[in-house]
Symmetry: C2
Subunit: 227 residues, 2 copies
């Protein structure tokens, strides 16, 4: 019998926010199977498009967002992961600043929303497994490359970076040692301006030096976070 397998892409897009922590973008399905359940944005690849284009298109179509940082995660292909036909899912991993986007549910999606990664609803298909894979990739990532460029505002107080790392590592960091380490990498530029956040002393703003940041990312770097 001729091969009868379909190919889909699915995206696990993470956002970071001081209040919410790390969130994942989900859509509520408008159609069967798993109608009304939350699921990862994604869908079948068109005949003429590349896999990368397919993910970008689906994110645009279903959630109305344009994710710049996307990389391939893993391909899930067990028979039976879709109850109707055999579909293999090529999953992607993305990072964005949620505040940069206004979510808009379209086409197959009845709703779109951010969910904190520790408060996920039940998910359609094997999407729970996909999200878990993505989270463990994200956690692993910060130990061998810098993370933050895609998740923080263009200009941010140092404590934002510190909080991001604490959230991702799920453990406290010594502020002074962390500052020393990051500063020594030379990927940050200190600005003259400050920002006030609630009570307390105003914080100086920083931004990433795009060039050095990506150089370091390409070379790879071993952070040793234990403290």
């Amino acid at each position: 019998m001729r091969q009868d397998i379909r190919v889909a892409v699915d995206a696990v897009v993470f956002g970071y926010d001081q209040e919410q922590g790390i969130s994942v973008l989900l859509i509520k399905r408008k159609i069967e199977p798993f109608k009304k359940m939350w699921a990862l944005p994604g869908g079948l690849v068109l005949n003429e498009e590349s896999l990368d284009s397919a993910v970008h298109r689906e994110l645009q179509e279903e959630a109305g967002i344009d994710v710049k940082f996307l990389e391939q995660l893993y391909s899930f292909g067990n028979p039976g992961r879709d109850p109707r036909n055999r579909v293999i899912s090529i999953s992607y991993f993305g990072l964005v600043r949620p505040r940069d986007f206004e979510l808009v549910a379209r086409t197959d999606a009845e709703d779109v929303a951010w969910f904190n990664i520790s408060k996920l609803p039940p998910l359609a298909f094997d999407h729970k497994k996909i999200v878990e894979t993505a989270i463990s990739r994200l956690r692993g990532k910060i130990t061998y490359e810098p993370v933050g460029f895609e998740l923080l505002d263009k200009e941010f107080p140092f404590s934002d970076l510190e909080n991001l790392y604490q959230t991702l590592l799920d453990q406290p960091i010594d502020r002074r040692n962390f500052k020393k380490k990051i500063s020594s990498l030379g990927i940050l530029e200190e600005l003259d301006r400050t920002v006030q956040r609630g009570a307390g002393r105003p914080a100086r703003l920083f931004r990433f030096n795009r060039k050095k940041y990506f150089e370091l990312k390409d070379r790879g770097y071993n952070f040793d976070f234990f403290s």
Copy 2:
């Protein structure tokens, strides 16, 4: 138009040998397209089988070998990577001891052979790119997990491990420091026996402590190889 994409798996299986260094397993294609060219073992996934089974089956069918260590590498899916139909390839990465197997060309393969990774012939499809991706994964791998269990003989002199790392890193290693580092990981067991290799003093044999080796592998470990 209904989706018309096929799904294949391809395997980049590496072998290590004191004389040959790092090699890749290739087959010579018996059929069009790219008839008579060298290519990675692989082929279309059957309707009812998992991706993992598909790779194992293809390796068995085309090369007659049974690869125990296999993990997913990356999925390549550009339209046009196969000149006839659209085929996406889910590639896998494997490690074996070449001496454990006798290669046997079967089904679609006219020939099977090991090629040193620096002396590869022209390859069919985009297999050159796939092999390059696999090599860079292999190089990366040894910096965050131990490697060797799957590539060395059950019992081996310490110098084999040292040579393996030197080959993979493509740079000399200080023998004393390397010994100290590996010993401190507690993944090696020293045996009473020795082995003689050509001239020189006989070398004591070692073997991996399977349990501790895989514990370390799961936990992840940061080697810092610079020297």
